[in-house]
Structures are given as structure tokens and as C-alpha cells.
């Protein structure tokens, strides 16, 4: 019971965190906390097989899938706080609290009777007991889940597959397009300038300086610009100007 009283506040706090954090990545990590907590509660309740399955399937597979999709969809795809239906959020919270209070009161008042415990059932081992049930009473349900899993895998492949409708642009096509752009708009034909490489600072988030001292916008990735993590090149060179000034004074 000690494990329960330690884990349950952590799990409830992490679950409440999912409701309030802005970024999907943080929600996924908080969900991982809840799921590991649940796995430990399974272990406490004589379900070692489900403990392993919970860790492997939920925190191992499903949450990694979530994180992959978060990366594909974009880490910065945070929730907007604009309400499309007025008062929906408040109503949802009020209804949720009412529902929760009803459910908790109902569950707390139910008397579950004497607890039999699984010591006798798990005498041959939990996995053996589960296998005995799974391959006798529930064998058709088990077969049906195999069909479900295959259908789900096929469905995901069909949904995620993208048919190519235009031919793939070859290197020659790209070069031709670049020359056409140069003729039309005068866009630079060569490669983009490299980001800043200085004697004391060498990083992709520092823009390169043009001969006239202004930072070159095309030398940093536009993802970094969108995140607002680009360093100011002149600020890094501030003390250099001082050194140069001292040299000049001599």
C-alpha cells in the first residue's frame, strides 16, 4: 500500500499536467510518467505480466510513436488558447468535475466485499494462468485481435502512403530551375552562405557577416529564425571592435 500512496499523487499531478501544458512533447512525457506509475501499480496488484506489457507496449511502443508523430507534425505545434465555442472550456471543466465527483463518490461507497487475492490463482505463475485463460476461454477473441492488428497495420500504411503524381525532379532539373530563377529574379545561383565561423564562436545559430558588416539572413536555417534562437553576430563581435579601437589609438 506504501507504493500506492507514493505513486498515486505523482500520477494524478502528471495527469493534471497533461491538461495544462502547452506543448505536445511535454504532454507525452507526462503521460509516460502516468503509464510507468500504472505499471508499478499492476506489479503491486499481482499482475507481473501486465507490468511488463505496460512498460513494453505503452511506454516503449505507443509513446515512442507519439513522439515520432510530434516530431513529424512539428515540435512547435503548440495549442492555441483561442476558444472556438464560447464558454466551452469552463463548461467542460465544470462538467468534468461533476462527473469525477459522482464517479469517485459512487466508487467509494461501493463495498467490494472480501478481497480474494491472486495468491492461489498465481500459484503456477501469472503468465501460465493468463495463457491458460487466453488459449481456452478467450481463444476466439485472441484470434480476432490478430485480425484487428493486421487491419490496423494495413490501414496505417494506406493512410501514410503518398502517391507521387509528378515525376521526381532530377539534379539536372534542379540546376535548370536554379538558372531560370536567376534569369527571372536574379536569385543567387551558388550554394547558400555558411553560418558564422569565428575565432571564438562557431555555431549554426550565428549568422555569417557580409563584407559590409551586416549579418546575412540566408546563412541561418529558417527553422532557427522561426524559433527565435538566432544569436546576434554584431553582439558577439562587440569586444572585438573595442580591441580594434585600442589598436587604432596606438
Amino acid at each position: 500500500m506504501t507504493a500506492f500512496w507514493i505513486l498515486s499523487p505523482i500520477m494524478v499531478l502528471a495527469a493534471l499536467g497533461i491538461l495544462v501544458v502547452r506543448k505536445a512533447v511535454h504532454a507525452a512525457l507526462l503521460l509516460a510518467v502516468v503509464m510507468i506509475g500504472l505499471a508499478l501499480l499492476y506489479l503491486v496488484q499481482d499482475a507481473p505480466f501486465l507490468f511488463a506489457v505496460q512498460i513494453i507496449v505503452y511506454t516503449g511502443a505507443i509513446l515512442m510513436l507519439f513522439l515520432f508523430v510530434v516530431m513529424l507534425v512539428g515540435v512547435d505545434a503548440s495549442d492555441s488558447l483561442v476558444e472556438t465555442i464560447r464558454g466551452q472550456r469552463t463548461l467542460a471543466v465544470i462538467l468534468g468535475v461533476l462527473f469525477g465527483v459522482t464517479l469517485v463518490l459512487g466508487v467509494a461507497q461501493v463495498s467490494v466485499g472480501t478481497i480474494t487475492g491472486l495468491a492461489k490463482t498465481n500459484a503456477d505463475g501469472n503468465v501460465v494462468g493468463l495463457a491458460n485463460l487466453l488459449f481456452t476461454n478467450y481463444v476466439f477473441a485472441f484470434e480476432a485481435t490478430s485480425a484487428l492488428l493486421i487491419t490496423a497495420a494495413l490501414g496505417a500504411m494506406v493512410l501514410a502512403h503518398r502517391e507521387r503524381i509528378t515525376p521526381r525532379a532530377s539534379q539536372a532539373d534542379l540546376a535548370r530551375q536554379r538558372m531560370r530563377d536567376y534569369a527571372a529574379t536574379g536569385k543567387h545561383v551558388g550554394p547558400l552562405p555558411a553560418p558564422g565561423v569565428y575565432a571564438r564562436h562557431n555555431a549554426v545559430d550565428t549568422p555569417a557577416l557580409l563584407p559590409d558588416g551586416t549579418p546575412s539572413q540566408s546563412s541561418v536555417s529558417r527553422v532557427l529564425v522561426a524559433r527565435g534562437t538566432v544569436k546576434s553576430a554584431p553582439a558577439l563581435a562587440d569586444d572585438i571592435t573595442e580591441v580594434v579601437r585600442e589598436e587604432d589609438a596606438k
Binding site: V44, V69, A77, L103, A152, G155
Partner: protein, 99 residues
């Protein structure tokens, strides 16, 4: 080891999942809240399995996990397809059938 605290925790987690589905806008987070609700019901199943002294509850929790895995795979593929055409993972933007 009494069963009621486990059931109350399961009820609380289920409620939090419900509120999350109703309030969050990001389709991914809505999905995580659905997972939270499935997990909360699993906890109740495992608890009742211990109360009754047979393993049927654990078998059902196992089936819930299998169905949840299948659901996540298809759901995330749908979210990705919507994101590809609409450049957004918000449940409010996927309203093309409305008009």
C-alpha cells in the same frame, strides 16, 4: 490491501482524461487523453481481478492494450494525413465537412 483507493484513483484518472478530450485543441494531446482513459479503465480491471481472485480481469486489460495499440496506429496515421493536407494538428481546423 483494500481495493477502494485503486478504484478511486482509476476514476480520477478517467475524469482527467475526459476533461482533456473536451478542452484540448491539439489532436495529438486529445489522443493522449484517450489513452489515459483506457489506462484508467485497465487499472480498474486489474483491481477487480485481484478482488475476485481470478485472472479474467487481467486478460481483459491485455485485450484493451491490444485494441489501444491498433487504435493509436490508425489514429496517428489519420492525424498525419490531416496535417499533410492542412498543415495543422488542431481539431478545430479539420472542419471541411461543416460547410
Amino acid at each position: 490491501m483494500s481495493a477502494t483507493p485503486f478504484l478511486v484513483l482509476s476514476a480520477i484518472l478517467f475524469t482527467i482524461g475526459c476533461v482533456g478530450v473536451l478542452t484540448r485543441r491539439n489532436a495529438l494531446v486529445v489522443f493522449m487523453c484517450v489513452e489515459l482513459m483506457l489506462n484508467a479503465s485497465n487499472l480498474a480491471l486489474v483491481t477487480f481481478s485481484r478482488v475476485n481472485g481470478n485472472l479474467d480481469g487481467q486478460v481483459f486489460a491485455f485485450f484493451v492494450m491490444v485494441v489501444a495499440a491498433a487504435e493509436v496506429v490508425v489514429g496517428l496515421a489519420i492525424i498525419m494525413t490531416i496535417f499533410r493536407t492542412r498543415r495543422s494538428a488542431s481539431v478545430d481546423d479539420a472542419s471541411l465537412l461543416k460547410y
